[in-house]
């Protein structure tokens, strides 16, 4: 058990625990540093007999935060230097509200020596000048040097911004100067979230320019007409916006029996369209009643039985996008899900296209076809990224059989498969087969000689025991460290 926690258990006051808890509260609950000088907060603390133990000045709080950060940084650097894997990065630029600063954020992705997958934020820094690839590359290189991980730079995951190519291009040049083979085109990975968003966007808008339709809480006859032309979901959107425009209308809908407030489409996340349609369908009777009550305003947006059917089909198409996003967006999303997930979405489209005859007036078919084109375009690009294919092959449940089935279904050609096999083998031979395996420690090697594991499960358990023993000792040292360095 930890020293800090022991003191806490004994109900004895320990300044170190109080200081740690204060910082944790400020960091995790987004508390302003000035909270410590707030009179009512101090009064509460005073009543609990501890106000004098809490620093008053926001500057002190800031200093402590910065100091603590400086002390933890080398630990994170060590975790990355010792990692079993390369250090993969995802990064993006962002402009703060009120345009006060342009920042770049970078997250590192790796598996630690103890076998734990980690995704720490490693930098958040202001950008001099614009979000160009060259500008961002400069900062990324600086960060890699500061953490001492230039040689471990792995894959680079970004949205499909055009400056991504320049960024990785610059990094690649720097890596080649450092005598390391780093092929920009292979190491650049497009975030699948972006592809899903583009594909869903195509479902809604096709190739129509839709920028003027974003954030349309202010409704004009023009924008309503544009949404209407998209099909039943355009009508659904208009009705939703109409209801949400005033609290009186929302109350009225509720009085008529609506169980939930309708959800609005969020222009940057097209998956929210699925939520919108679903809440529409759930409130079908109420919505119909509401439209009758507001016949003059909503006459053109009333939904026919056929429209409702198409809405239901739209949910069938959009729901898989929603669940595919959920599957991949978390910190532990896995790369094999990328090709497999996109293949799955492709199947959904194929089914819809088979179900409905080719008819330009049938919105669901048009939307699905447009969305399908976008998805297919990116799927072809991903097929050429060796690492995405390798991720599937290295899944013991798939291997190459997965792609052999895809060839039978005509999703892949024989040539594509043969080419992919050569590329994955080349990746293995050039990047991994010759590397020294630092990962297996002495203790694990001995275990390997004396008791060859019978099942994967037994082997895993053995390794886990090793890891747990290692962890107990390192925890003991670390807890001492907390007290000594922070005093």
């Amino acid at each position: 058990m930890k020293i800090a926690a022991q003191k806490f258990d004994q109900q004895q006051f320990c300044q170190q625990v109080a200081d740690d808890l204060l910082l944790l509260w400020i960091i995790h609950s987004n508390i302003p540093f000035s909270m410590t000088s707030d009179n009512h907060f101090r009064a509460l603390m005073q009543y609990l007999n501890h106000a004098n133990r809490i620093p008053r000045s926001p500057t002190t709080v800031k200093l402590r935060i910065i100091t603590h950060f400086g002390q933890l940084e080398p630990q994170i650097a060590d975790l990355m230097k010792e990692a079993t894997t390369q250090i993969h990065l995802s990064c993006d630029g962002w402009t703060s509200p009120h345009q006060t600063m342009a920042v770049i954020g970078v997250i590192a992705h790796f598996t630690s020596r103890a076998g734990v997958r980690m995704n720490p934020v490693i930098v958040l820094r202001t950008l001099e000048g614009s979000h160009t690839g060259a500008n961002m590359a400069e900062i990324v290189m600086e960060v890699l040097q500061e953490y001492g991980i230039e040689e471990k730079l792995g894959y680079f995951v970004r949205d499909n911004a055009s400056n991504n190519d320049t960024l990785v291009g610059h990094l690649s040049e720097a890596q080649v100067e450092g005598n390391r083979w780093y092929n920009a085109s292979e190491y650049r990975l497009r975030s699948v979230g972006h592809v899903i968003n583009l594909s869903v966007k195509a479902f809604w808008f096709g190739d129509v320019d839709h920028t003027h339709l974003h954030h349309t809480i202010v409704v004009t006859p023009d924008t309503m007409g544009a949404w209407r032309r998209m099909g039943p979901w355009g009508n659904a959107h208009n009705i939703t916006i109409y209801v949400l425009a005033s609290p009186q209308r929302q109350q009225e809908l509720k009085r008529l029996g609506g169980d939930t407030i309708l959800h609005k489409v969020n222009a940057t996340q097209w998956n929210t369209g699925y939520t919108m349609i679903r809440s529409m369908i759930r409130n079908k009777d109420t919505v119909e009643l509401f439209c009758l009550c507001h016949f003059d305003d909503l006459e053109d947006d009333r939904l026919s039985p056929d429209d409702w059917n198409q809405l239901a089909d739209a949910v069938d198409v959009l729901e898989p996008f929603h669940s595919a996003t959920l599957q991949m967006e978390g910190d532990f999303g896995e790369l094999h899900n990328l090709l497999v997930g996109l293949d799955f979405l492709r199947t959904i489209f194929t089914n819809v296209l088979q179900k409905y005859p080719a008819n330009p007036h049938l919105h669901i078919r048009r939307a699905a076809a447009e969305s399908f084109v976008v998805l297919d375009k990116y799927l072809e690009i991903y097929k050429d990224l060796t690492v995405c294919v390798a991720a599937v092959v290295l899944h013991p449940a798939y291997k190459w059989e997965y792609f052999e089935v895809a060839v039978e279904k005509l999703d892949w050609t024989d040539d594509q498969l043969e080419d992919a096999k050569l590329r994955v083998q080349a990746l293995w031979l050039t990047q991994y087969s010759t590397a020294s395996s630092q990962a297996v420690s002495q203790g694990e090697l001995q275990l390997g000689i004396h008791q060859m594991p019978i099942t994967p499960f037994a082997s895993w358990r053995a390794e886990r025991q090793q890891t747990v023993i290692g962890r107990v000792f390192s925890d003991y040292d670390q807890s001492k460290w907390v007290l000594t360095t922070l005093q």
Binding site: K2, A5, V17, D20, L24, I27, H28, N30, I66, F69, L72, Q75, I76, S90, S96, P97, T100, V103, G105, V106, I107, H109, T111, G115, V116, R117, P120, V121, L124, R125, G154, Y155, V192, H194, E329, D331, G333, G341, A390, L394, P396, A397, L427, W428, Q431, S433, A439, G448, M452, F457, S459, W460, E463, R471, S474, D475, Q478, S479, W481, V482
Partner: protein, 130 residues
């Protein structure tokens, strides 16, 4: 089975074995294969550490937006970086303890322990039939 067996090209050796449809968690599978496939497991774990989406960065910026409210618009980038980094580092190392509050009980847990439990918890290898 001995050193000779291990020395055979690991990639071909892996491909030569039949697929294992019951395995649902390749990360744990490859962790367990470190001795049998020292280099191929490194490759697999490396690739499995790559996120398919850059959603983490988007979440980071949503957090920044919450931090930079109208009242806190003077917050400087070094403070913002320190707070956001440490938020994501919690659980990675042992510098800051984690606080676990359950009902009226409060416990201070050394960071790292919790994460490890989350990751390996009660789950088995992802093999459904053993």
């Amino acid at each position: 089975m001995g050193a000779d067996y291990i020395a055979v090209d690991e990639y071909n050796r892996y491909l030569a074995t039949p697929t294992e449809p019951c395995i649902t968690n390749p990360f744990l599978f490859w962790q367990s294969q470190r001795e049998m496939f020292p280099k191929l497991s490194s490759m697999a774990l490396d690739i499995l550490s790559i996120p398919p989406m850059s959603a983490g960065v988007e979440r980071l910026f949503s957090q920044c937006k919450i931090m930079l409210t109208d009242r806190r618009n003077r917050l400087q980038i070094d403070s913002l970086q320190a707070v956001e980094c440490m938020k994501s580092w919690d659980g990675l190392q042992n510098g800051l303890p984690q606080v676990v509050i359950t009902g009226t009980q409060m416990e201070v847990v050394e960071a790292g322990e919790q994460l490890y439990a989350d990751h390996h918890g009660d789950r088995d290898l992802g093999v459904e039939v053993m």
